[in-house]
Symmetry: C2
Subunit: 230 residues, 2 copies
Amino acid sequence: MLTLYHHPFCPFSRTVRIAFGEYGLNAEFVEERPWERRREFLIVNPAGSLPVMIDGDGAAICGVRPVLEYLDETRGAELDGRRLLPATPRERAEVRRLMDWFDLRFNAEVSDYLLTERIYKRFMTPEQGGGPPDSSAIRAGRANIRYHLHYIGWLAGRRNWLGGDDLSFADLAAAAHLSCIDYLGEVPWEEFEPAKAWYARVKSRPSFRPLLVDQIAGMTPSRTYVDLDF
Amino acid sequence: MLTLYHHPFCPFSRTVRIAFGEYGLNAEFVEERPWERRREFLIVNPAGSLPVMIDGDGAAICGVRPVLEYLDETRGAELDGRRLLPATPRERAEVRRLMDWFDLRFNAEVSDYLLTERIYKRFMTPEQGGGPPDSSAIRAGRANIRYHLHYIGWLAGRRNWLGGDDLSFADLAAAAHLSCIDYLGEVPWEEFEPAKAWYARVKSRPSFRPLLVDQIAGMTPSRTYVDLDF
């Protein structure tokens, strides 16, 4: 049995949860609020970041990229056509480039601004960085997302999936970030039809369903969040 | 023949250069100043970041993690005992955790502050972000490095190399970041003997030598930078 330390609105954790669904893996989920810097959690992952996966034998795998590579190495070969990293080194490099694109660049330019200001801060004490949202950070996230939606549409127009012929970790990473932001109603889908069409395909997969039932206390999801025909 | 787009004081590029040395790979090096956002370079890597490796067949591999994984996949198997990712998934996950530690965390908390303020800004126009160094950013980098040197010493005291029994990408990443900062004389080696002893072992490897001849115009390296017996 796998255990995943995660937060329901951590995009990196969501990527792993979708991967579990695609791979047909069951796991026990432990919600962690990384800003609390819980001592027992820091012993497991000194970086204090999410996600952390505990494999059946007790090994802790820390960080979204190490977890996804580990899943591919330990479960990928059995999956054949459903493998989420392609077969050749060059194709794998392209998927990894896009994983970095979403987990580093999209995160720094969009997710981190919007999720910190609009979600995480609600749960943080002042000492942990809580407080009223910073409107200039929110404005930056709202401006930057447009460029990324354009790029997603550009990729989706040239390939079957973002990283190549098959669904891959690149799609999972991109969709995980967007799903958190979509909850907030911050994705201008109507202006970016190709990105919307790609997202609708990922969102309709059974692996995505568990994410759509997550709720933030006191904050209703946007109209588009759960609707598969948004 | 491989080509590497790099900058001499980009820690991510340096990690790949040391890996080339360990693997006995020759490459052509093209210096890139990513802050110039050169159009031809953005076509190769839309993220505009370093390093980018062009393999003999023209494939562009973008980003330090994709490049290192690609090198392991395409050249690792021939290397036997000199492979820089371990054999088992669990050991590989530990090396990848530490790659993330240095490339994300150490970079954000130390390298990015010190290298941007003390090196890159000297070459940037005001429009590119150039200008006088921000002393509060430098102070933050100087404070944060101590915690990381402590952690390196802690790891080195428990293992043969940072990531396990053998030299790995984790050592290369850590040493690449530290080497840039050491040029600036910003590493308080004397207070962190275990980290220093580990760094001396990496620094004395033939793969490291090409880095030690890099110079910044108008800025002499620190006393400890070239000295193998610092």
